[in-house]
């Protein structure tokens, strides 16, 4: 009982701390990549407390719900966006043995199902806002999330075949450095589709601020908006951690196994940096380009990888 309580507290702590770390890193990294300073005042030293200050500000803001909105759905959407990512963290192993919230046999399957809930939150937020911009944003989002669900699932299936298990710890144990080579297409597909699933640039057409105000988030303000933003950063953590665990060997690396959890965190952090980097470096894809990349690029690639994996794993 105590052990479970400790694990739950650990997952909750990771959920509350890691997205903020990614957010703060994004502030500073983006700023320096663009030749500016970023936040410098809050907390005195290089603006380290900026996000805490933002949180305090958001908590005091008026709760605005548009008169025309479908109010219960509008109010529920931030929770639907946020909670699945918390639940995913439960299944991500930091290390072997007990260093995981829950070592469910069908962990990979549950995790993919949870990531898939994102489309519901987008549609709920966009439709319930009763605003033309949010509606267009939500439809773009729904089309994008549904399309990219497919390469995401196929790439994950390739890993499942290679490892012969759906247990995330089992997958890491079955991993060996050769996977970096022959699972590389799947890793690329998974990470790219993951980016699209969390609507990060270059796949941010659903929130395209220069066309749609702020897409399906236009009508949100105050704390509900803050929760939706938190969901975006939790999403970065989840996609980076899943890619690290499925394709980069999780806790495997040089050094004693007792320090393996540091490898998991390092790999996750490195991938989160790539996610931030892509935002700075890439222009936004158009909606038709997004669909074309998925159906004409990633899906055939993922199918080819699945065949290759099957031949090698069972041949």
């Amino acid at each position: 009982m105590l052990e479970i309580a400790v694990k739950l507290v650990g997952v909750m702590a990771a959920f509350l701390v890691l997205p903020l770390l990614v957010g703060q890193t994004e502030h500073k990294l983006m700023a320096h990549m663009q030749g500016r300073l970023g936040p410098m005042h809050a907390g005195r030293f290089h603006g380290w407390a900026q996000l805490i200050a933002d949180g305090v500000k958001f908590a005091q803001k008026e709760d605005l719900v548009p008169d025309a909105a479908d109010k219960p759905v509008f109010k529920l959407a931030p929770a639907v966006a946020l909670v699945p990512y918390l639940l995913v963290l439960l299944f991500i192993p930091l290390g072997p043995g007990d260093l995981v919230g829950s070592s469910l046999e069908m962990g990979l399957f549950v995790v993919l199902a949870l990531v898939g809930i994102g489309v519901l939150a987008v549609l709920m937020a966009g439709w319930a806002s009763a605003n033309k911009y949010t509606l267009v944003g939500a439809l773009r989002g729904a089309a994008q999330l549904m399309a990219y669900e497919l390469p995401l699932v196929l790439a994950a299936a390739s890993v499942a075949v290679a490892a012969g298990t759906l247990n995330l710890q089992g997958i890491v144990e079955a991993w060996n450095p050769w996977w970096l080579l022959w699972q590389a297409p799947a890793a690329f597909v998974f990470f790219t589709a993951g980016l699209a699933e969390i609507r990060r640039p270059p796949f941010d057409a659903p929130v395209a601020d220069s066309e749609l105000v702020f897409g399906y988030l236009t009508e949100y303000a105050g704390l509900r908006f803050a929760l939706l933003l938190l969901a975006e950063y939790a999403g970065i953590v989840v996609i980076a951690a899943l890619t690290a665990v499925l394709f980069l060997g999780g806790w495997q690396g040089p050094g004693p196994e007792s320090l393996g959890w540091m490898w998991t965190l390092l790999k996750t952090g490195a991938l989160a940096l790539v996610v931030i980097w892509l935002r700075v470096a890439w222009p936004r894809l158009r909606v038709d380009q997004i669909q074309a990349l998925c159906w004409k690029g990633l899906v055939p690639l993922a199918l080819a990888q699945l065949v290759l994996t099957t031949v090698i794993a069972l041949g």
Binding site: V11, M12, L87, S102, A147, A160, G164
Partner: protein, 122 residues
């Protein structure tokens, strides 16, 4: 690894409740701290600061429905990949051949949709 199945789902359930409790606690704190001064203008639909034009739920051209159809076709089949992946190693060549048929059908379906121009944005 040897925890019971029921225990695993119980942990999942507790965390689900904890997640909603977190959101509720945050919104309750917000309720205690925030001002409330609703007005007609604040409740108006936001369209870049000018008065809203027409109804709130506007009609849009649905270009996405074909993708939705395609997705449903593929996704239903993709679900069956996972149980197959776990047991595949035990069946060897037969499982590989089955997979070949499966992926072949999927690829054929995609090629057909592509050829028919479904994937062209219009």
């Amino acid at each position: 690894m040897d925890s019971s199945l029921l225990g695993d789902y119980a942990v999942f359930g507790v965390l689900l409740l904890a997640g909603f409790a977190f959101v509720t606690a945050a919104l309750t704190a917000n309720r205690l701290l925030r001002p409330s001064a609703p007005s007609k203008v604040k409740g108006m639909t936001y369209e870049c600061g000018v008065d809203p034009v027409g109804g709130d739920w506007a009609q849009v051209q649905i270009r996405y429905y074909v993708y939705a159809f395609l997705f449903v076709l593929f996704a239903v089949e993709a679900v069956f990949l996972f149980p197959w992946a776990v047991v595949a190693a035990g069946f060897g060549f037969a499982a590989a051949a089955e997979m070949g048929v499966f992926v072949g059908v999927l690829a054929l379906g995609l090629a057909y949709a592509w050829r028919k121009g479904v994937l062209k944005w219009q």
